[in-house]
């Protein structure tokens, strides 16, 4: 760790924004770039699913608990990955309180590049407006104190939703040129929604684009997405946090070249190995395991994973992905608690830290 003189106390928002830029922080921020909504939190603020995915005040109430109840440094109003797909015309299954809404991917809406159409009133769709209004409500509530992170889906993920996973992946093998055309057309939805969230008041955006090692190779990421993700950095003027679930170490070097502010990575990847690969070119966010640790284990197990991340030089700590809706609050509040206690016995760190 690089030792520096203590950094004066920061607000949550300052801490998150500094860590995303790999600047000095008073302590490592704890953030939730995907979702920390749980059934318990829904009950606490009367904002159950699916209502909280479609009603701005409910969405804002539930998102706020990420800071007010759990003590995270950021709030995230987009709990799922379906708002854009709903606005693009995908068939939806909104589900109940105890499950996430999902796109009916086996009923795809597009087959060829010419089918792709981002409606002229895309940003007026109720499921888009809901997010934008929730962001405004959160900004009003938290002012400059808490980082508000929005979410705009990347074109690869939109491809799964709009073309169906198997047809989209087969097309990528059979006709890479056609696939690039599709990505070029779908990226308009990513950029439009991202810019609208900036106007509404977000500080940063998560950009999920699930070119995961569980489905495609690292070379696929390079071929289809690396340059496009660099374009997003130029076109969307807030720090971008790329999120890809699953195994990703084979593409982290490419991701680190995109200019993204951060990469939100999964617990299938070792924090220390990941930190070595990205080598301070990008911040890392993660990677507390969801199903085995946060969902099924106890606070001491959560603490052990937090410490493993801190000692590996991970710049922003948080769950690896959207947490299971039945996760106990005591496991979630342990994350910021463990971070604070770790820092009380360790010198302030000045990212980049792990190369020293």
């Amino acid at each position: 760790m690089k030792q520096t003189s203590p950094v004066k106390a920061m607000t949550s928002r300052q801490r998150v924004m500094a860590a995303l830029k790999r600047e000095p922080v008073d302590r490592t921020p704890v953030i939730n770039p995907t979702s920390v909504a749980t059934v318990e939190l829904m009950d606490m603020v009367d904002a159950p699913f699916p209502h909280a995915n479609r009603d701005a005040p409910a969405m804002a109430r539930l998102a706020a608990t990420g800071h007010t109840v759990l003590g995270f440094d950021s709030v995230m109003p987009v709990f799922s990955i379906i708002q854009e797909s709903s606005a693009l015309g995908c068939k939806m299954q909104w589900e109940q309180k105890d499950n996430w809404p999902t796109v009916r991917m086996n009923e795809p809406i597009w087959k060829v590049p010419d089918d792709i159409h981002v409606p002229s009133d895309y940003l007026s769709h109720p499921d888009i407006v809901c997010v934008l209004d929730a962001i405004r409500l959160l900004r009003k509530e938290f002012g400059d104190d808490v980082a508000i992170i929005g979410k705009t889906m990347g074109p690869w993920s939109l491809g799964y939703h709009c073309f169906g996973v198997e047809p989209f992946l087969l097309m990528s093998l059979d006709n890479p040129g056609k696939t690039m055309q599709c990505l070029e057309r779908m990226k308009e939805a990513t950029i439009q929604f991202g810019l609208a969230q900036i106007d509404a008041g977000v500080d940063a955006l998560t950009l999920p684009d699930h070119a995961t090692g569980d489905l495609v190779s690292g070379e696929y990421y390079k071929r289809f997405l690396m340059d496009m993700h660099s374009e997003f950095v130029s076109d969307i003027p807030v720090p971008l946090i790329l999120h890809i679930c699953g195994r990703t170490v084979d593409r982290m070097d490419y991701i680190a070249q995109t200019g993204m502010a951060a990469f939100h990575f999964d617990s299938k990847n070792s924090p220390s190995e990941s930190a070595k690969i990205v080598a301070d070119r990008i911040s890392l966010v993660g990677n507390i395991n969801n199903p085995e640790t946060l969902f099924a284990k106890n606070p001491e197990d959560v603490r052990a994973e937090v410490i493993k991340n801190l000692e590996s030089g991970i710049q922003l700590v948080g769950p690896e992905c959207a947490i299971p809706l039945q996760t106990r609050i005591e496991n979630l509040v342990e994350i910021p608690k463990a971070v604070r206690e770790w820092h009380s016995t360790h010198a302030h760190v000045h990212p980049p830290s792990h190369t020293h």
Partner: protein, 249 residues
């Protein structure tokens, strides 16, 4: 004991040399392909390459030449799919490539299946597969189905969002020996356990061996819910299904 040089097809020799790492798998595949006729090796090679048009043409040609449908399936299609499964497990190929291989398998089976059915040839076992209630993700389940079919199982696909009643009705209708459940979401993973409880209540639990899988599922979770087995990926699913069906690898 056969040698690599006993395999006629150069592509198959290279595949074994380049991609297979486990000694027992190398040995098993050398033994297998060394006894397979060159024409069937050619079908296996085309399948591994994901060339559905070539598999289609070679399968028709082999049938026209008088080759038994069972030989084409076992020595061409299933043998080829075996290599595909290993490459996928070892992350040497990924889902798009597996999908292309499965498409090639399907091209060949299009001609083979009706012949085997007419001849009354039995599959290894019948498997019911479904993604559980509330979950619309099916890529993992579909990969398992492709590999199971590519290994000689008959599979009935119940699709996504499968309710306990749908599973129970399908058990009664199809009388499978194995039932596979998949979930991608942590929210739907517990529905596997609920389904098993429903099978007990409906008095069909003892009729099937239950296997489970999916990204958030673990062996521990599978044990807790009372499943008979857990597979971490598509190839593990096939190995598990063979074990549950009492078949030696």
């Amino acid at each position: 004991m056969a040698e690599l040089s006993d395999i006629a097809n150069e592509f198959i020799r290279e595949e074994i040399e380049e991609y297979l790492e486990r000694p027992e798998e190398i040995e098993r595949n050398i033994e297998l392909f060394a006894r397979i006729r060159p024409a069937m090796q050619e079908i296996a090679a085309a399948l591994i390459e994901g060339e559905n048009d070539v598999v289609d043409r070679l399968t028709q040609q082999a049938l026209a030449d008088g080759t038994e449908a069972l030989e084409i399936m076992d020595d061409g299609l299933i043998a080829g799919m075996g290599i595909v499964g290993i490459k996928f497990r070892e992350a040497m190929i990924f889902v798009p490539e597996v999908l292309a291989c499965a498409r090639a398998m399907k091209a060949g089976m299009h001609y083979i299946e009706p012949i085997l059915s007419d001849a009354g040839v039995e599959p290894i076992a019948k498997v019911l597969m479904g993604t559980v209630k509330g979950d619309l993700h099916d890529i993992g389940k579909n990969l398992c189905i492709m590999m199971l079919r590519g290994s000689g199982f008959e599979v009935v696909d119940l699709g996504v969002d499968t309710s306990d009643d749908d599973f129970i009705d399908a058990i009664e209708e199809h009388q499978p020996s194995i039932l596979g459940m998949s979930a991608l979401l942590t929210t739907t993973m517990p529905n596997m356990g609920k389904a098993i409880e429903a099978f007990i209540d409906a008095d069909v639990r003892d009729d099937v061996m239950v296997m489970v899988g999916g990204a958030p599922v673990t062996q521990e979770f599978a044990d807790d819910m009372g499943a008979d087995g857990y597979g971490k990926d598509a190839l593990a699913c096939v190995e598990l299904a063979k074990r549950l069906a009492g078949v030696q690898n």
